[in-house]
């Protein structure tokens, strides 16, 4: 029985991207990236425990330009996943399930994630 090669829905190639669908896959994408982002978190705890030398080496990597870009991206992914996750918790409770609520909360999550990222890094600069 040929069950392997059947087309799977949704057919992404004929779908027009919508805010709701884009944020939905972005939630998964940021979730995967944040999981990978836990590796430097673990490395940081190990570096603090090892001593000034290991800590300095890690700080040099994180403080480099690619390191800072990744840290900024990590912060944005964190805020977006947090806010969109709260949106998911609201949906679990049965709230915001209409189109208006889904779109309004989607824009709020996206814009607020940007604002918070800029606030954190702007406050440091």
């Amino acid at each position: 029985m040929a069950t392997d090669n059947r087309p799977l829905s949704p057919h992404l190639q004929v779908y027009r991207p919508q805010l709701t669908s884009v944020l939905s896959i972005s939630h998964r994408l940021t979730g995967v990236l944040l999981s990978l982002g836990l590796i430097p978190v673990v490395l940081w705890t190990l570096a603090v425990a090892s001593g000034p030398e290991a800590y300095g080496a890690l700080m040099n990597i994180l403080g480099s330009v690619p390191g800072l870009v990744l840290l900024a991206a990590w912060t944005f992914a964190l805020f977006f996943h947090l806010l969109n996750g709260i949106r998911h918790l609201f949906w679990d409770a049965g709230w915001l399930l209409d189109l208006r609520g889904a779109y309004a909360s989607g824009w709020i999550a996206l814009v607020l994630a940007l604002v918070l990222t800029i606030a954190v890094w702007g406050g440091l600069a």
Partner: protein
């Protein structure tokens, strides 16, 4: 040769009653992480650019050490639950899927253990 309809297979090996526990675990760890992330953001603003002595000083406070352990364990657990679903959904090659699931589990346990021991070492000043 398996002549059974795929639906019949699904029914036979269907939910054993614990399917909902994954859902709850993901939500519970998510709610815990909403609070812990607020702590983390304050921590980051204190720690970015800090030297080793300042980092040790910060991490050796009982409150920060406890929150750091709670954050690391909860976020790794939440990440493991999420990655599990992503792998189930998108990796359709059975051997690759099982291998990835096992690797994610092992990495979660090892990573969590390393971080907790490192934090405790700093907290107890050994």
């Amino acid at each position: 040769m398996n002549l059974r309809n795929p639906l019949a297979n699904a029914h036979n090996h269907g939910a054993a009653g614990d399917g909902v526990s994954h859902w709850w675990a993901q939500r519970f760890s998510a709610i815990l992480l909403t609070g812990l992330t607020v702590w983390l953001v304050f921590a980051l603003t204190r720690l970015i650019g800090a030297d080793h002595a300042a980092a040790v000083d910060w991490l050796s406070s009982p409150f920060n050490a406890a929150m750091a352990i709670l954050f690391v364990v909860t976020s790794i657990y939440h990440g493991k639950l999420g990655l599990q679903v992503v792998i189930e959904d998108y990796v359709h090659h059975r051997l690759a899927e099982v291998t990835l699931q096992v690797l994610v589990k092992i990495a979660s346990i090892v990573g969590g253990l390393l971080a907790v021991i490192a934090i405790l070492k700093v907290a107890f000043g050994v």
